[in-house]
Amino acid sequence: MPDQPFRVLPAVTSDNEHFWRGGEHGELRFLHCAACGTWIHPPQPRCPSCLSTEVAPRASSGRGRVLTYTVNHQPWYPGLDPPYVVAIVELDDQEGLRLTTNIVGIEPDRVEFDQRVRVTFEEYPDRDGSVWLPFFEPDPDAGGPVARGAQGGTP
């Protein structure tokens, strides 16, 4: 895919493959504790809540809200043209389950705090197999932004 914007890709390992390749199946996967139900990110070998080792990848809802964001104007990388939106999104699945990402499918100056978003993946071929970068786009099933702290109506 030579027309793709430049992206620094992650080094995929057995510890993070579920996250970086879950997009092949349309799923945003995080580690999840079978003992107490806690979602875990970034990956680690024990649940931080109950210290169980019974942690395994699981598909999240892929839906959440924009906790905060910035419109980046600096051309850090040739081939990745500003402006673009860098955001921290919190998933509906658990308070504090969050990740840094990009908000796509909307003009940068239209992004709002608490905006409802859903995951969308872009495949980036790499030498040892593709990775699927999880971006977020406005959630067509949601209305406008929700009040801060509110948990959205997730199917």
Binding site: N16, V71, V131
Partner: protein, 413 residues
């Protein structure tokens, strides 16, 4: 939390020194470092043979380029020191964590006089191509070009075109703006105050006056942070000597005593996973520092607070209690409460009296401690703060942003 022992009070700062400071001066970083170290030893009235400890941040590493280039071993060997204790590294409570290590070492009696240094040559390393030329993982091309693959915590931000703390701090600043109504016109006063102080600092990099129009007109980096909210890459080295208090009694000048240290990080050690995205580690470091003293913010005359990005300084002002949470914008608005002349006025504090990293240059944390000590010794020249005609006697040096932070409460009274 209650503390049973405030061991940092056994330690003092006995001398400080700096090398030449500038943009693209293309000097060997070890040469800069030795200049700063020898200046500090001379300043303290010590001999090199008195130095039995050595501490630095971040150790000898060169990613990103110009970030260090000098570690413990190079200085140890170049000065043929005979050391009883030494430590250098990156995994510390911010840049001044190296000095906190030194304080702990002298307080436990492992050594008497620790030479602490921090060297940068980022301006030369970036040459004429600018900061973006050394962006981690850069290499151009379409798709996932280049041979670099992101690992560790950087894997969670680099693929999203967010390689810089400008992006990470930009998100924090934007949330603060949203939550508390902070404005660019308010945040600007951090930069304007620093430039005003830099105008009369002969070693500052940018000394020409800056206006609000200048600030509002410059290009945006990562909204709401513009170019003048970002510190200026520099070449230079700073050294400070931490001494055991009873070993410094007869030195050249009255020691700067360490009243309290704050080194806490009670939330998650991460730029994007920390519980409160408008404060981060400095919230905990500031709280710990005040837990370890009976002094209060009202008694502080000078505050030298990290400004890798202007918003970090605003957050330190709030966390240290110079204003209430969320009121940093109104506090700095107009600049009168943070000006040099405001020292000693109730509800005010002289802020970043040398020009901070925004205007004096990114000496990466150590410049704030250097300046706080100069002010308390009355050696800051034209920019010297006066309290009722005398020198200030209580100051704070604090460094770090994101998951890195340490705060020093200093006094000479």
């Amino acid at each position: 939390m209650s503390w049973t022992e405030i061991g940092e009070r056994r330690a003092v700062v006995s001398g400080v020194g700096q090398s030449q400071i500038g943009r693209r001066i293309y000097r060997d970083p070890l040469g800069l470092t030795l200049d700063a170290c020898l200046a500090a030893v001379e300043h303290a009235g010590l001999q090199l043979s008195d130095i039995d400890g050595l501490a630095t941040y971040p150790g000898n590493m060169n990613i990103p380029p110009g970030f260090s280039g000098v570690g413990i071993a190079e200085v140890h060997d170049a000065l043929r020191l005979e050391l009883n204790w030494f430590a250098g590294g990156l995994e510390l409570p911010g840049q001044l964590g190296a000095v906190a290590n030194a304080v702990a070492a002298v307080a436990t009696g492992l050594c008497n006089h620790v030479l602490c240094f921090r060297t940068v040559w980022e301006a030369s390393a970036q040459g004429d191509a600018g900061r973006a030329s050394v962006t981690m993982g850069g290499g151009g091309g379409g798709g996932g070009g280049g041979g670099y693959r992101a690992t560790s915590f950087m894997q969670w931000s680099l693929p999203f075109g967010a390689p810089s703390a400008a992006n990470w701090i930009g998100m924090m600043a934007n949330l603060h703006f949203h939550r508390y109504g902070t404005t660019r016109e308010q945040l600007a006063w951090i930069a304007l105050n620093s430039r005003r102080n830099a105008e009369i600092n002969p070693t500052a990099i940018y000394r020409t006056p800056m206006t609000m129009d200048d600030y509002l007109g410059v290009r945006m980096i990562s909204d709401p942070l513009c170019l003048y909210d970002c510190d200026v890459p520099a070449d230079g080295s700073t050294a400070v000597i931490v001494s055991r208090g009873d070993a410094a009694a007869d030195l050249r000048r009255p020691p700067v005593r360490i009243e309290a240290l704050g080194t806490a990080l009670r939330g998650r050690p991460s730029w994007d996973q920390f519980d409160d995205l408008t404060t981060m580690a400095l919230r905990d470091a500031a709280a710990m520092m005040w837990e370890r003293t009976d002094l209060t913010p009202e008694q502080v005359h000078v505050a030298e607070l990290y400004d890798g990005f202007s918003f970090i300084t605003l957050s330190w002002l709030e966390a240290l209690g110079f204003c209430a949470r969320g009121e940093g914008g109104p506090f700095v608005d107009g600049g009168t409460r943070i000006a040099r002349e405001a020292a000693g006025v109730p509800g005010s504090v002289a802020l970043n009296t040398h020009g901070g990293q925004l205007s004096a240059g990114r000496l990466h944390g150590f410049g704030f401690l250097h300046e706080a000590c100069l002010q308390l010794w009355g050696e800051a020249g034209e920019r010297q703060v006066r309290i009722d005609g005398g020198d200030p006697s209580v100051g704070i040096a604090a460094a770090g942003g994101g998951p890195l932070a340490a705060a020093f409460l200093l006094r000479t009274d």
